[in-house]
Amino acid sequence: MDDMFSLGGKTFTSRFLLGTGKFRNKAELKSSIIASGTQIVTVALRRIDLERTPENILEYIPEGITLLTNTSGARTAEEAVRLARLAKASGQGNWIKIEVINDSKYLLPDNEATIAATKILVAEGFIVLPYVTPDLYVARRLVEAGAAAVMPLGSFIGSNQGLRTKDMIQVLIDEIDIPIIVDAGIGAPSQACAAMEMGADAVLVNTAVAIADNPSLIAKAFAQAVEAGRAGYLSGLPMQKTTGDASSPLTGFLFSND
């Protein structure tokens, strides 16, 4: 059975999105992209350093991969909109991950500003993927605003703490009809697997891959974990019980007297 992932009018076979920040070098980035089989990667926009030759991150991203530009650095809806327009002007497509953050300690997203930016950018024809703290009402407003997906955080960006917001993400999975992509805080393949088993549509990981001793190996492990979790979800996971339930037959024992 083909299990395609539909997002923003495209279909993908991979449900693992990879961020491209924090890699020690571009060779490790490229090998991680290839090893993971990811079909969507995130990038950011920054001022060029006029004193140095800029390295073009795009040169390390293989052909055919969908670029999802984030609005990192934006502190307001207006700044996010400005960054999105710049990304579009580059000719690299119109997929935008809205990230509005003005808290430097926890890096938590400003949900209200994110909704505002989503409305504006959807109206301008962008494929909008908003990064938010998981909240049912926020997610519903994002659906109304025309978002292509909701990207709830699992835990603080770069914290590798995993699914601290698990129950709230489950609410979104159960109640929201557009794709739910768990983003931020996923620090181990087992955590990505757990998100997929819950019914998330995809997972985005950056830090855990970029800073691992062997990025391409963990990138592959993440992709496999996402596949395993997805298969587990599709299989219809059995109910949990609070008592034991034997797996072997309860008849024909060697040691019974009858």
């Binding site: 961020g19 491209t20 920040g21 924090k22 890699f23 980035l29 995130t42 990038v43 950011a44 926009l45 920054r46 001022r47 060029i48 006029l50 030759t53 800029p54 073009n56 991150i57 795009l58 530009t69 984030n70 990192s72 400005r82 327009r85 710049l86 990304a87 002007a89 580059s90 690299q92 960006i157 770069g158 931020a184 985005l204 950056n206 830090t207």
Partner: protein, 66 residues
């Protein structure tokens, strides 16, 4: 003529187009997105855009990000 490029003030003695400024400011202009006074300046308009004193130019490109 003073022009602010990525927050740094630069002085130019002769008139200069956006294209010339971008070509002299950065080593890989083909990767650059340009904003002039807060509005995106389409690549096609770089050559015909003459800069004025106190113009603010932002030169932006893609970097790694999550």
């Amino acid at each position: 003529m003073e022009i602010t490029v990525n927050g740094q003030t630069k002085t130019f003695l002769a008139p200069i187009s956006a294209e010339s400024l971008i070509n002299t400011s950065c080593k890989k202009p083909e990767l650059v997105i340009c904003e002039l006074n807060g509005a995106i300046l389409d690549r096609k308009e770089w050559v015909s855009t003459q800069l004025k004193t106190h113009d603010r130019i932002e030169l932006i490109s893609f970097v790694g990000g999550g």
